[in-house]
């Protein structure tokens, strides 16, 4: 069992290594991809600077906290797209029969599939996340918490993307459904959690868990609270279990080259 886990992790890292190696063959494109993403993210801060020149605080946050929020949002998104990029494309893999390759290999199909590609610009997102942390003010405690929350949030984001993408096992237009929900998760990651009404908030702490991947981590770095911390880690565990369960439930319905299904 332990050996199996070790070998699986070895394959995941190897896949990550080869993916990054591929992109590095063209160093200029590689670096400009990353740099462009950092610039792209920075441009959004300007919006907030303008907003804060009109209002003192928004949802209880000043510019400082907004920068931390952006750090967490950009970092979690970056990490999930570096390691689990294909969780966001799982629907395509299901519909076009691209899981075949992973099904004949003696490794976990789900993990092998979602880790089989890396989005290079996401490295820029991750770096930008840490730049934000430094601007916010870094201490050893902040740094450790921030890193733990990036890992937890990256996993939550990827697990959520996987779950909604698994819709393609059951419905024909599963990719639209999946993209819509994944985009909500990503779009709302950069807003202060407190600007939303109770009803919406409940949604963000359950069905679309951007609250647990982003809002609560920001709160917990600003004001450490053990209950929140345990809740974030616990939820990460729960959503991972759910993602595996849904995937394997759906896999029984996998039809290899489902492409024909929508065209008759």
């Amino acid at each position: 069992m332990l050996m199996e886990v070790r070998n699986q992790i070895k394959v995941i890292f190897l896949s990550l290594k080869y993916n990054i190696m591929r992109e590095m063959t063209n160093k200029i494109t590689f670096l400009s991809n990353i740099l462009f993403m950092i610039l792209n993210n920075s441009s959004f801060i300007i919006q907030w600077v303008v907003l804060f020149s009109l209002k003192q605080e928004i949802g209880g946050y000043t510019m400082k906290e907004i920068i931390l929020l952006w750090g967490i949002a950009s970092g979690t998104f970056g990490l999930s797209k570096i390691v689990f990029s294909r969780a966001f494309e799982l629907s395509e893999l299901i519909m076009e029969g691209k899981l075949d390759t992973f099904l004949v290999q003696p490794k976990n199909v789900f993990l092998s599939a979602i880790t089989s590609e890396t989005k290079i610009s996401a490295i820029g997102d991750l770096i930008y996340g840490y730049i934000c942390l430094f601007v916010y003010g870094v201490t050893v405690k902040n740094f450790v918490l921030f890193t733990i929350f990036l890992i937890a949030g990256g996993i939550i984001t990827a697990a959520f993307a996987s779950i909604v993408n698994c819709a393609s096992f059951w419905i024909v237009k599963g990719d639209f459904f999946a993209d819509a929900l994944s985009n909500i998760m990503i779009d709302f990651a950069t807003y202060p959690g407190n600007i939303f009404k109770e009803g919406v908030k409940i949604l963000f702490y359950t069905v679309i868990p951007v609250g647990l991947s982003n809002y609560l981590p920001v709160e917990t770095i600003i004001n450490f609270n053990l209950v929140n911390f345990v809740w974030i880690i616990g939820f990460t565990g729960i959503i991972v279990v759910v993602a595996f369960w849904v995937f394997y439930k759906g896999l029984k319905r996998y039809s290899s080259s489902n492409l024909m299904n929508s065209r008759i």
């Binding site: 070998n7 190897l14 080869y18 075949d100 099904l103 290999q105 003696p106």
Partner: protein, 263 residues
């Protein structure tokens, strides 16, 4: 000893039918109509260890679907499968160590990597130790004559070179059974001949069981002693090639059987 055992195996696909135009689209959402296709319909057969079997039939007969169930890619709708004593639907990973697969129409290799890096990656997938994998790559690249392009990215290789690499990747873990789904599709006669030679050699020296589908009569004739013919999901013949042959060329005999079956 039977290495593959199949009893009353069936697979049905459910397909949503859609009429033309917007009206049809709306109708298919409100009141979807489904059509079921019996891709594989109650087939039973067995394969002996070390055998080279041709599993053939016209387009859409259910060959690929059968291979996909035998290799654990698809769940059967009903029936029983045992491959090397393993149920593919229940112990997929355990089975994966024992089988190799080559799908002529699908790539398993990463096109941006060199064959060498691909093989190293496959080595890790099958938990092969580092020093062992080096030896294995050297040995196989000699047999399959990959030396001159083993460090060229796969996407820059010719089809023939690529298929040879696919074969090596499928053999890296010394599988007991090799499933080949149209492995020679699109290859020129010389490359075809080479591939056949290598398959025969492997079967002879290592006793690897070969399960082959192909539309190329040459593959069947040169490699296999026994042939199973399927049509519309059913087995219509299971015999030795020797019995099938008469004074006519095998190609003509098979064509006739296909034509009769489709009437």
């Amino acid at each position: 000893m039977n290495i593959i055992e199949v009893k009353n195996l069936s697979k049905t696909f459910k397909i949503k039918e859609k009429e033309k135009g917007i009206k049809g689209s709306i109708k298919s959402i409100v009141k979807p109509r489904y059509k079921t296709i019996k891709a594989v319909n109650d087939i039973s057969f067995s394969v002996e260890k070390g055998e080279m079997l041709a599993f053939i039939g016209p387009n859409g007969a259910g060959k690929s679907t059968t291979i996909k169930m035998l290799t654990g890619i698809l769940y059967p709708t009903s029936g029983e499968i045992m491959v090397n004593g393993i149920n593919p639907a229940k112990q997929r990973k355990k089975l994966a160590y024992k089988i190799g697969t080559v799908f002529g129409q699908k790539e398993q290799l990463w096109t941006h990597l060199t064959p060498y890096d691909n093989f190293k990656f496959f080595g890790a997938i099958y938990d092969i130790q580092n020093n062992e994998i080096e030896d294995r790559i050297e040995e196989l690249s000699k047999t399959f004559e990959l030396e001159s392009f083993i460090n060229t990215p796969v996407r820059n290789l010719s089809l023939g070179q690529r298929i040879r690499c696919e074969m090596v990747a499928a053999l890296i873990h010394k599988p007991e059974i090799l499933f080949l789904d149209e492995p020679t599709i699109g290859l020129d006669p010389v490359v075809k001949k080479n591939i056949r030679k290598l398959i025969r050699k492997m079967n002879k020296e290592l006793g690897t069981t070969i399960f082959l589908t192909s539309h190329d009569v040459g593959d069947i004739e040169k490699l296999c002693k026994r042939v199973i013919i399927v049509n519309k999901g059913k087995i219509i013949m299971d015999d030795t090639i020797k019995n099938l042959k008469s004074n006519k060329p095998l190609e003509d005999i098979i064509t006739e059987i296909y034509q009769e079956a489709t009437i």
